[in-house]
């Protein structure tokens, strides 16, 4: 007796929608919050976020619309490869943003600020393309069943509400931290998100069989499931994974180290600047 694959999926469409949408929105909203907090610290306008949201949404729609064709690329692993490339591109842009941010504090030259804003716009737009396309695909599939329209729509609204609300509160919480501490916390969070992006990219490349599988390093799913609300929040924040492979962990750690190296390199000057301001 075979079981319809739809049955289990459809059983909890409401909760599934909340889980998927909130995770995707949360990832993007935390990234926007950190970048907006950094922009604010540099006393730059945050209007770039609106452009990034619009460009990203349009990109996500186009990507989602063509996902069928893209999936057929590279022997039917096109989606994994494109997503991995987007993640790697975001990490590279985050390296540049950290470099500019660490130096912009002292160097208020116009082109440095413009470059930082363009960079931040690109990071957020690409993240939205990636997350938005996932949401688009999910909704496009789920909403073909008229009977699940209500539960999917309600779940999506709640998921979006949770993701956006955490993003807003996170932005204000970061804003409440002052001085050098904000720089350090912002840098650490930014590094952890970059690490998470690298780890995701490696997982996708592994799924596409482009890189070899490595053994699982640990399993904390019994302690904290990736699918619980806390697990999802930590996934969005620091890229928490209950069962990471050695390669994913190595990629994560390397990215974090590089990011901290770029960002911390100039930190002593902040001390000098603070002292100067205080005197």
């Amino acid at each position: 007796m075979s079981l319809s694959s739809d049955d289990n999926r459809n059983k909890k469409m409401f909760l599934n929608s909340i889980a998927l949408i909130s995770q995707e929105v949360l990832e993007a909203s935390i990234l926007i919050s950190i970048l907006m907090a950094l922009t604010k610290q540099l006393e730059l306008s945050s209007r770039w976020a609106i452009s990034a949201l619009l460009i990203g949404s349009l990109g996500a729609y186009i990507y989602g619309l063509n996902i069928g064709n893209i999936s057929e690329w590279f022997d039917y692993v096109g989606q994994e490869i494109v997503n991995a490339c987007i993640q790697i591109a975001i990490v590279m842009l985050m390296f540049i943003a950290t470099f500019l941010y660490s130096r912009s504090i002292f160097n208020t030259k116009k082109y440095g600020q413009t470059l930082f804003i363009v960079n931040a716009t690109a990071i957020v737009a690409l993240a939205i393309v990636r997350e938005g396309a996932e949401i688009y695909n999910y909704l496009a599939g789920a909403l073909t069943h008229a009977e699940y329209l209500v539960s999917v729509t309600t779940g999506s609204i709640i998921g979006t509400g949770i993701g956006v609300s955490i993003g807003i509160l996170f932005y204000y919480a970061l804003g409440a931290i002052t001085g050098k501490r904000r720089h350090i916390i912002g840098l650490i969070l930014f590094s952890l998100i970059a690490g998470s992006m690298t780890s995701q990219a490696l997982l996708l490349l592994n799924q596409a069989d482009w890189i070899p599988s490595t053994p699982i390093l640990w399993d904390t799913s019994s302690l904290l499931s990736e699918y619980s609300l806390t697990g999802r929040l930590l996934y969005g924040l620091i890229g928490y994974e209950a069962t990471p492979s050695i390669l994913e962990f190595f990629g994560y750690l390397t990215t974090v180290m590089i990011m901290l190296f770029i960002g911390i390199k100039k930190t002593p000057k902040i001390k000098c600047l603070d002292e100067k301001i205080n005197t």
Binding site: D6, E147, T154
Partner: protein, 431 residues
């Protein structure tokens, strides 16, 4: 935090949404569990009912829905079954609930034993349909939360806006205050928290007013008091010049010192006379070109002495201003140009008119003002280290800025169109 209102609205609404939505998920989960129990109880009642039907053979004639299937087993043989049930048992021969997969669906199953008739009733209900039915009912309790959020957000927006009204009024009152208005703020509809702020601001304004008044009086009195002895000194100096040789170094230095002191006192007096309350009393229409022409003519000897080429280009443009103030402004600009332009250098005054403004531009071929010092030159007694050798007291451009501000004009310093030197442009708004 760019706006207290935005911060309060966003953070309150975000917290509200977060907690309400998490509560809705919790409510949904516990209601779904309750619904499962209810459906299970209904299944048990249905099983008991089937046990009492006394049906034998295929039960296809029994009205049932495709979402429910049942079998009646006796001595390991089916004695009755719904036509959608398979031949194999759809529940264990043990009392209780479980799950089973058949007919391409997942079913909730129940095994029930009827002792009287010695039959097992195996009942199954489509699990997805049960969930869908329960979800549709439970989600109805979530709608008010979803629909209520925009309404509550609107209310929060209005309430916070109303709550911040006194603060907005205070901010408006402060921003509407003129530069020279140091009168206390009226505390209309002041709240307990703002009363303290208003009291502190008023106390500060009062202290500021007293200090400024004292400073003004001191400057004016000191300048007035010093003017007489300086005049006496100058006369005595003139007399000494008649008696001792004119090429005496000591006498020359004394003469320069007295002149510098005289200039400083005159500038201090000018600064006092160009205070807003003094100047704003007497505004009239002034032809800037004629005024500049007259000032050049008046001071021509100074330019001639240094063999400087001075030219005035422009049109006759009339602006609303104070003659005394504008004379002092142009005099100071020309005096600076004369002082800093070397012998045989060039000075150009240009008067231009656009749709929205009149501009007065004084350019010279002197050493110019370094970019980093351009904001500081308007500060009182500021003198750039490169200009210490040229006599001056550092009040000229302070007076210029002071008078320009009073006329609502803007002032900017750029490089001049000559090979060196600076260009100071004063832009007056057209009425």
């Amino acid at each position: 935090m760019s706006s207290i209102r935005t911060f309060l609205i966003l953070s309150v609404v975000a917290t509200l949404v977060l907690f309400n939505f998490i509560a809705a998920i919790q409510g949904y989960s516990s209601s779904m569990k309750e619904a499962e129990l209810l459906f299970d109880e209904k299944m048990l009642n249905t099983a008991k009912l089937i046990a009492n039907l006394h049906v034998e053979g295929n039960a296809s004639n029994i009205e049932h829905t495709s979402t429910i299937a049942f079998q009646l087993w006796k001595d390991n043989k089916i004695i009755a079954a719904s036509n959608n049930a398979p031949d194999t048992p759809i529940a264990d021969f043990q009392p209780g609930y479980g799950y089973i997969n058949f007919d391409r669906h997942r079913w909730r199953s129940l095994g029930y034993y009827d002792r009287k008739r010695n039959v097992w009733i195996a009942l199954a209900e489509r699990d997805d349909i049960r969930s869908l039915l329960a979800e549709n009912v439970i989600l109805k309790s979530v709608y008010p939360i979803l629909l209520g959020i925009p309404l509550v957000s609107l209310l929060i927006w209005l309430i916070i806006g109303y709550g911040l009204k006194p603060l907005r009024q205070l901010a408006n009152e402060l921003s509407n205050k003129k530069n020279n208005d140091l009168t206390p703020i009226a505390a209309k509809e002041s709240t307990k928290e703002l009363k303290q702020v208003t009291t502190s601001i008023n106390s500060l304004l009062q202290r500021l007013d007293t200090t400024l008044e004292r400073e003004k009086l001191f400057t004016a009195d000191a300048a007035h008091e010093l003017r007489t002895p300086i005049s006496a000194l100058k006369i005595q100096l003139h007399n000494i010049k008649q008696e001792i040789p004119t090429n005496s170094d000591a006498l020359k230095q004394l003469n320069d010192g007295v002149n510098r002191m005289h200039h400083l006192i005159e500038q201090l007096l000018l600064l006092y006379r160009t205070t807003p309350e003094e100047l704003s009393k007497d505004f009239s229409e002034i032809d800037l070109y004629t005024l500049t022409q007259n000032i050049i003519a008046e001071h021509y000897s100074g330019f001639e002495k240094k063999q400087q080429n001075i030219e005035l280009i422009g049109i006759h443009s009339k602006i609303n201003g104070n003659t005394f103030g504008l004379t002092a402004l142009i005099q100071n600009l020309l005096n600076n140009a004369n002082k800093y332009t070397p012998k045989g250098g060039d000075i150009r005054i240009t008067l231009e008119e656009t749709e929205s403004k009149y501009s007065l531009r004084v350019e010279d071929s002197g050493p110019g003002i370094p970019i980093e010092a351009r904001d500081q030159v308007f500060e009182r007694f500021y003198r750039h280290k490169n200009q210490q050798a040229i006599p001056g007291c550092g009040l000229g451009l302070t007076i210029v800025k002071h008078i320009a501000d009073l006329h609502g004009a803007t002032i900017k310093i750029e490089n001049s169109s000559f090979t060196s030197g600076c260009a100071i442009t004063i832009e007056f708004r057209r009425q």
